[in-house]
């Protein structure tokens, strides 16, 4: 594509500016994609990762562990639902802790479970599940194997014999953007009592449930909801997606992606329209000396692909180091799917946007070379 390349070589500034603009836009789109994913995961990762296929909140909990409380009568009702397999209690609280006897305090969300298959993370990236009191699995954001964690009492002092050791690590297992620990039930109860001695009985925040054989999780959730009006049962995935705020985050980012996504084809399309108009004299000349219009259109499309491809490369190159970073408590990751999908979308939109220019090229009449009206 001789003509396409030569023109770009001789007009480095304008093509360079266009490629850098597109590159920055690609960077912003990919970065925000990563932020959206990282943000949502850091809110509900723990819900997605915990092992219970069905989570039952109280309706008043508004689909959050921190708001939900299961009273004993409700627990009884849930247990006796038809088709119920196993149940386990799940408790959740956010506490002030010290890690490794650091002088600085930090936050930790602690999730307690009675049955490791109904509440502990279903996959560990390192270590093992707790085997006894004083052990925990920690989210990889915030904890490392071997860390010791102490819950602080209301007087701000760690309570002596309540050290918890992190013996396992799970990825993407945070709750509410807080480092999270998964502990057996007794450890959870004592953490609650340590932090608030005024507390009465410690009730579970939710019930983890597994269906009996022959029934799937969604059906069980439906039955629980039908038989107990105070229960709000959801499959694991639904619980994650319907956590308040998740939908809002997705919607907000949707609009952002739409706007940014529109800028790319608009800038590309209008750029190529302007330069096509500006070089219409040359295009007319080429048609007159025997270049087929198809050739000229292909040349145009080739430039579009180069420009968007160049912008994609620049954007992805800038995004790669960024995707390894951690923004506060939010871990970013390099999302290959997002990169591929956006590359496809932007290339397609870019080519589409050049259709107006292509039509202009096709409309050129070689006779205008002779009339000297090869310009506009």
């Amino acid at each position: 594509m001789f003509l396409a390349l030569k023109e770009m070589r001789r007009a480095k500034v304008r093509f360079g500016l266009l490629i850098s603009a597109i590159g920055l836009l690609v960077l912003l789109i990919l970065a925000q994609q990563a932020i959206q994913t990282g943000l949502i995961t850091s809110f509900i990762g723990a819900i997605e990762k915990q092992s219970a296929p069905v989570l039952v909140y109280s309706v008043d909990g508004q689909k959050t562990l921190q708001g939900s409380i299961i009273t004993p009568p409700l627990e009884q009702q849930i247990r006796s639902t038809e088709g119920m397999g196993r149940t386990g209690r799940i408790g959740q609280g956010t506490f002030t802790v010290t890690v490794n006897d650091d002088s600085d305090n930090s936050d930790a969300a602690i999730i307690g479970y009675t049955d490791p298959d109904l509440g502990a993370p279903d996959e560990l990236s390192a270590g093992r599940l707790p085997e006894g009191p004083g052990e925990a699995v920690g989210s990889s954001a915030g904890f490392e194997l071997g860390d010791t964690v102490r819950v602080l009492g209301p007087d701000g002092r760690p309570s002596g014999n309540e050290a918890i050791e992190v013996v396992g690590i799970a990825d993407d297992a945070q709750l509410q953007v807080t480092p999270t620990l998964f502990v057996p039930w007794p450890a959870y109860v004592s953490s609650v009592k340590t932090s608030n001695p005024d507390a009465g009985g410690v009730l579970p925040s939710a019930i983890g449930a597994a269906p009996a054989e022959g029934i799937d999780a969604a059906t069980l959730a439906g039955r629980i909801n039908e038989s107990s009006p105070d229960a709000d049962a959801l499959t694991r995935q639904a619980a994650a997606e319907q956590t308040p705020g998740v939908a809002e985050v997705r919607q907000s980012f949707q609009v952002i992606f739409l706007l940014f996504g529109l800028v790319v084809p608009l800038v590309t399309g209008l750029f190529f329209l302007i330069i096509t108009l500006q070089k219409s004299a040359s295009l007319t000349l080429l048609r007159a000396v025997g270049a087929q219009s198809g050739l000229l259109v292909r040349s145009l499309m080739f430039q579009v692909v180069l420009v968007i491809g160049g912008g994609l490369l620049v954007g992805i190159a800038l995004y790669t180091p960024l995707s390894q970073a951690q923004l506060g408590e939010i871990k970013l990751s390099f999302d290959v799917t997002a990169v591929l999908v956006w590359s496809g979308i932007l290339l397609a939109l870019g080519l589409l946007s050049a259709v107006v220019s292509a039509r202009r090229v096709l409309a050129i009449d070689p006779i205008e070379a002779t009339t000297g009206e090869g310009g506009r």
Binding site: A11, G290, A291
Partner: protein, 244 residues
């Protein structure tokens, strides 16, 4: 009529048209009619013109006389409304636009009055552009381009952009390009209008030399009577009609 062509022995590229009885151009009863608003405008009326294979014809007429239309039809840029057009043995009277485009690329050379060169290509690249849009025999094209540049005295300007060339140099590049595809016919549209008298004379001399050395036919459109001295024949055109 037929002259024996001198051949450069070691350079097959410059083996141009040999003594060739086929006329470069045959136009028979060619008419071109345009519909403007509701009227019919006859741009060319019953034109008969034949050019020998290496003949240079000056086409003289005032503006609006139809000379541009005649050239455009001869060059395969326009199709006639009626009549027969044969260029270098090819009957292009009923060619589709696509066929005409291909035909122009392979068989005709143009030197326009206004836009002649692609501004973002160097002199050399402007010559190569014909090959790029067509047959893609890169090596042959490169050799031919270099040879033409040398002949036209442009070797040291080969890498310059049109903005870095003088008017006369640009014109010479255009002539070089018009010869790249070894055309049967080259059309020159007012080649001297932007040049002063001296340069203009030099240019026409150069044109004659290049055409004759290759045995290529040419039509030179001009309103400058002095140019006619360099042509083999002069044809006058007024209001779309040719006079002998």
């Amino acid at each position: 009529m037929s002259e024996t062509q001198t051949e450069e022995e070691n350079d097959e590229v410059s083996r141009d048209r040999e003594a060739d009885p086929t006329p470069a151009l045959e136009m028979e009863a060619v008419r071109k009619v345009y519909e403007v608003a509701d009227e019919q405008v006859v741009a060319l009326d019953h034109a008969d013109l034949t050019l020998g294979s290496d003949e240079i014809v000056a086409l003289v007429g005032p503006s609006g006389s139809g000379k541009t239309t005649l050239c455009s039809i001869a060059g395969g840029i326009l199709s006639p409304t009626e009549g027969r057009v044969v260029v270098g043995g090819n009957d292009i009277s009923d060619y589709s636009p696509k066929q005409l485009t291909e035909f122009r690329r392979d068989s005709v050379g143009f030197v326009f009055q206004t836009v002649n060169l692609i501004p973002f290509l160097t002199a050399r690249e402007n010559l190569l552009v014909v090959d790029e849009i067509g047959s893609r025999d890169r090596k042959r094209a490169n050799r031919r381009a270099d040879q033409l540049l040398e002949e036209l005295g442009l070797e040291d300007r080969a890498g310059n952009l049109p903005s870095q060339l003088s008017g006369g140099q640009k014109q010479r590049v255009a002539i070089g390009r018009s010869l790249m595809n070894e055309p049967a016919l080259v059309l020159f549209d007012e080649p001297t209008s932007a040049l002063d008298t001296k340069l203009g004379e030099q240019m026409v001399e150069l044109i004659r030399e290049e055409m004759k050395s290759r045995g290529t036919a040419a039509i030179i459109v001009t309103h400058d009577e002095r140019i006619t001295g360099y042509a083999d024949r002069t044809v006058h055109i007024t209001d779309g009609r040719l006079e002998a």
